[in-house]
């Protein structure tokens, strides 16, 4: 589960749960994902940072929903995927206190070799535009980039998503 364990796991493949947000393809380690839910009935939390959508109730459990669009500073407005409604990717309790992220559309599960994930923090002679954009916005959340057949997959580290809020709280 540790992204940094690259030595032995150089050629190990990682299952990625991929999703689309603002026309970009993102992926998170599928082992961090608990479930995918419809985004219904968000209760806004006034005074919370702008990238926090609010609370939703999933089977009696209250879940914080984060809007990464805001975090990354993507264009506003909810563009939804083919299904018409946005979805919430819910993370496992091992990742953080219960929370999920708002995505436009959930895509396939992709298996990628860890060696193909380019750690954007290393050798970044010619980083792609999207990576540069993300770097400006948030550190740590984007773990690396993985070129797929058709497009780039931005690999996110779920454990860092709420790091900024926590830092702000202190």
């Amino acid at each position: 589960m540790n992204y940094e364990e690259t030595d032995q796991a150089q050629n190990a493949s990682m299952q990625m749960c991929t999703f689309r947000m603002a026309n970009r393809l993102f992926g998170v380690n599928i082992l961090d994902v608990k479930e995918v839910n419809e985004n219904t009935n968000v209760t806004p939390i006034y005074h919370a940072p702008s990238d926090i959508c609010g609370y939703i109730n999933i089977r009696g459990q209250i879940l914080l929903v984060v809007n990464l669009r805001e975090t990354f500073g993507f264009d506003h407005g909810h563009k939804t995927g083919s299904s018409g409604t946005s979805k919430v990717v819910v993370f496992k309790p091992t990742v953080d206190e219960p929370f999920g992220i708002l995505v436009d559309e959930v895509c396939d599960v992709v298996s990628v070799e860890q060696s193909r994930i380019v750690d954007r923090r290393a050798g970044e002679s010619n980083p792609s535009d999207s990576v540069r954009e993300l770097r400006r916005a948030r550190d740590g959340i984007v773990f690396g980039v993985c070129p797929l057949e058709k497009e780039l997959l931005l690999v996110l580290n779920a454990r860092y998503i709420l790091a900024k809020q926590l830092a702000d709280n202190k």
Partner: protein
Amino acid sequence: METNNDILAEYVEESREHLSQVESIFVGIQKSGEVPPGSIDELFRAIHTIKGSAGFLGLLSIGTLTHAMESLLDSVREGRLEMTPQISEALIEGTDALNDMFDDVNKSNETDVSGLVSVIVGLNSGTAPAAVPAPQAPKPEPKAAKHAKAEAKKAPEPAAETVEKRSVSDVLAQFPELAEYVPPEQAAAAAASPAPAPVAQEQPKKEAQQSSQPGEKHEEFLRIRVDILDRLMMLAGELVLVRNQQLMHLDQGDSTLRSITQSLDSVTTELQETIMRTRMQPIGTVFSRFSRMVRELARKLGKQIDFVSEGDEVELDKNILEAIGDPLTHLVRNACDHGVEKQEDRAAAGKTEPGKVVLSAYHESGQIHVDIKDNGRGMSRDVIRRKVLEKRLKTEDELSRMGDQDLLNLVFLPGFSTATAITDVSGRGVGMDVVKTGVEKFGGTVSLSSIEGQGSVVKLRLPLTLAIIPSLIVQSGDERFAIPQVNLEELVCLYDKDAFTRIECAGAREVFRLRDTLLPMVRLREALARVKMFDEETLSEVTEKNSEVRKEMADKYQEAEDSGHPIHYSLNFAVLRSGNLRFGLIIDHIHGSEEIVVKPMHRAVKGITLYSGATVLGDGKVAMILDATGLARHYNVRDVGGGKDSKKQQATMEDGSELRSLLLFSNGGSEQFGVSMQDVKRVEAIETSAIEKVGAQEYITLDGVSTRVVRLEDGLRVQSSSQPENMFFLIPQNARKPYGLLVEKLIDSGHYEVKLNKESYQAEGVEGTALIKKKMTVLVNLDQLMHLVDGMWYGGQA
């Protein structure tokens, strides 16, 4: 090294359990004055287990002390010694010292226990020779003793196993008495093959349990991790929601399905209740620590104080139990330090019984009551008065108007402390204030009563559980919010014209005149919309904006009314209290009350002061729980009214008139009279035929009390009453003797702007006159009037 720390931590935890067992046995012995059979064995086993592990963990002081205690207990057990008060006292002291050492177990070796040990050893040896003339004499419980011996042999054996860096001989050197227990070859073998520590520690415990006598009541306990319990609770919550959905989609025609659903329903409910109960713990766990504390305090203060706890079995939510620890500590300390007097003072006051502090818990009307009672000197009203004046918390004038209870409640004011000297026990001037806020924080209340010279009682009222709280559901914009019922004082709804005329501006903020107080208003909508704390600028901006809105509303209303199609407005606000602050929270709708399950805020949004948590409402939507304190702080609410009980609150308006709450009446004639509502306790409708005459005075019997009847015309030169059959009787608030004012007709009551005129009509018993409801009204001062009517009878007492 980490494993060593783990072992140590486990040992400390286990030892604490043993110590609490020991303490409870001693408390039992002290309470009943006799030693229950088998209790000495239990004591011995507990102390022995602690000693067993102390040795190999290198805890020398603990080892030495427990060894001495064990030997003493052994003598008692074997019948060589009687369990005298001195012995139990010494053992209790030993237990206290052990408790202290376990507080910081790593430094325990620095603690000097030699004094205590020599006392205990002295007790043991001093009488021992006399008591052992016949070694072969039948012992009270030879079997149990043998058993314990066997254990004693076993205990050090696993002990040696866990020693890593310390050789067995080292340990033996420190504890020569252990040598006889450890067969050398066993110890060596054990040292060679270190076994996992937990197992080793479990062993003596298990044996101790096995050796307990048959027929003894066994209670099965299991330690469960709190997070597993929380998870269970959450799952039960989910199950409830699933059941609700099932109920919703139930086809009523299918009887089989219906009965299945019904059993699902009942099982689910029961499951949830049972899981809730797992969080409940007996309050005795908190009470038990006070027996030790009182003992220590008594010694430190040189007083003799008995401690009694009642209702140890009353169960409370774990969170509340944790939260009341501090307030209770404060209160018990207060009772010992300020309440109970020194023995010689008690004797001087004619009190024969020793000082006593009683903690009792009981259920009443869905709440848990905890009383802290002492039979000490009580609270001196004079001292309170003096302190309040000294610290300028209230003025003399205010004090003179206060009732006894109000006076007592002054001790809850921040910055109040009656301790004449700051001792290390208490008296830092924060005491009761901290207790009050601490208890109120989790929805409890504190009240106080005290009789000078006889003692004080502090009553705490606590909710059963924090997890489920009654609350009011309100709406602002599209969102619903929950307001905990404990913060809620009342709801006010203003209709039509009132909706925009009754809210006024005072400086930069909006206020409402609620009876005799000026209530600062908070608009939830505005508070939610602004992340930044409100400063004067934002406040005046908001106030201005809303006064514009009010003006518009007024115009529209007028227009609509003129056109003959009136529109209806309404404005709701909830009066909230947080600490000493009261404010009105303007909301859009009120939905009603609901019992909600409180969930804490996610740690990423915990910093937001507006909320105290979140909850899932009946329809499955999440609602935020508003925090009154946070809200007040965010909106920069300050107390604009002053204390509730002071007349200062009759806020003075710009033109010198003041808002007062009055009861208006007439005495038959055309004159209109008024009295301050605060001065009236209640109003009775009476029949004049029931009035009896005794000499020149008239009396009426109310609730079995003969009450003096005073007529307005007795004291004032006003038209006398025509004496119809039905009249009204005003009973004043601060009467020292039963009396009341007879009036003919009640006109109205309410808030009136009073511009007092003292010149036009001057008489004793009259405050002055004012124009109320376009009529000249004589404001009667009840107190003065009574003086006037019967100076001897009433004034003589004053």
